[in-house]
């Protein structure tokens, strides 16, 4: 792997290799050395969480970072092309981590510069490091990625994390349940791909009836602003809030995942149950990003 742009480019073998590497880093079985290397964290679209996670990952490996957040005080504001900005930055940095609101910007970056590029989110398209840390979290909690029953709940239409994740899991014989309001369903291009691969999935309006079957429930936020009429939001919002009561009778190995930030879709009473895993999931993100950086920069350990 030279770059990490899209889960479409990541093979099952790559996934297992990165999970294994993340595990070795987390459990201190290896000691990776990034000393003397510099990562540019280019967040053209601001993001606190992913930005900090990458910064932590680089620093824990012994490397260093320089970063930008937003485009207000940069040459972009002066009208410089993305291509020129990237070329210049690549003269300083050993690695570029980039988030951009424009779809395909990360692929373009990878084709423009000679240093490795990690896509930290390009518009509504891909967010592969999130998908990888989700897979790592699933593997850690379930011991395997094979033959699991996974419920994806919330805004499945616009949430790029659920798209990348369902694509990645489709190679592991997953059984999916998709629960969302009717106008926020999984896009057809995703379900078409699942159909082609012969993957079982069912679209539901309510997740309640299948809770006892699930190994993982992946929750995303339903944004109020996606509804044209506030009344419509009020009608559906409670169907997609995870409460302690909803978790009664779930399997012993069951875990709730969420890419964060959450607003009210998981009540705080769930945090203290053994099923809550979203904060550990964020922590896993640092190990997985360390593993991805190690792999792309071919770091010694």
């Amino acid at each position: 792997m030279k770059h990490l742009i899209s889960m479409q480019d990541v093979s099952t073998k790559d996934i297992m290799k990165l999970i294994d590497l993340a595990d070795k880093i987390e459990n201190k079985k290896i000691n990776v050395d990034m000393t003397g290397k510099l990562a540019a964290l280019l967040f053209f679209e601001p993001s606190t969480r992913t930005h900090f996670s990458f910064e932590t990952a680089v620093k824990k490996l012994g490397g260093n970072t320089f970063s930008m957040s937003g485009t207000n005080s940069t040459s972009v504001k002066k009208g410089e092309t993305l291509s020129d900005t990237l070329m210049t930055i690549s003269m300083y940095a050993d690695l570029i981590v980039m988030r951009h609101i424009i779809e395909g910007a990360a692929r373009f970056a990878a084709e423009t510069v000679d240093v490795p590029v990690i896509n930290a989110g390009d518009g509504t398209n891909q967010h592969p490091t999130q998908a990888m840390l989700d897979l790592y979290s699933i593997k850690k909690t379930q011991g395997t990625l094979e033959n699991l029953t996974i419920g994806l709940i919330g805004d499945l239409r616009l949430g790029r994390t659920v798209h990348s994740l369902s694509q990645a899991l489709s190679d592991f014989n997953t059984k999916f349940y998709f629960a969302s309001p009717s106008h926020l369903q999984m896009p057809k291009y995703i379900t078409d791909d699942l159909d082609k691969k012969g993957i079982h999935y069912q679209e539901l309006e309510d997740i309640k009836e299948v809770m006892h079957e699930l190994d993982i429930m992946y929750v995303t936020r339903i944004q109020k602003e996606r509804f044209a009429v506030l009344e419509d939001y009020e009608k559906v919002k409670d169907s997609y809030i995870i409460t302690k009561k909803l978790l009664e009778g779930v399997k012993n190995n069951f875990k709730v995942l969420h890419p964060l930030p959450r607003v009210n879709e998981i009540t705080t009473e769930v945090d203290n149950t053994k099923y809550a895993y979203y904060f550990q999931q964020a922590k896993n993100g640092v190990y997985m990003r360390q593993a991805i950086i190690t792999e792309l920069l071919n770091l010694k350990y």
Partner: protein
Amino acid sequence: MNKEKLKVDPIKNGTVIDHVTAGKALKVADILNIGNSTKEIMIGLNLSSKKMKKKDIIKVENREISKEEANSIALISPTATLIIIKNYKVVKKFGIDIPKEIKQHIICPNSHCITNLEQVKTRFILAGKNPIEVRCAYCEKKYFIDEVKFSF
């Protein structure tokens, strides 16, 4: 077939592009740079066809269109057949192969795609054949061929 012969004269040497999607012959001629040629050219539009109901046909004198050239019309007329004629006889006949990757000719309909905002040539991956479906290599959105515009 006899009826068609009455409508369009046979050629001595050259290429017949048959079974062109009805209404697309002028575009095909444009892509294959036939329109700018000084050679004899016959174009038939909306002719009756047993196989396709309606079809277009192009006959070009004294030019042998290669398989590679022919494949460049795959997206707008995948059903076309090319017949190479020498001395009034058919010497070669071949269909169109739809390329797995199409560079620069398709404009991505996604206004948020980088290809519409930076100086970058588009690249599409063939995602389905019947009907033809393509996926942008950059923004990864999928479109049916009828949904995209071309720049030839």
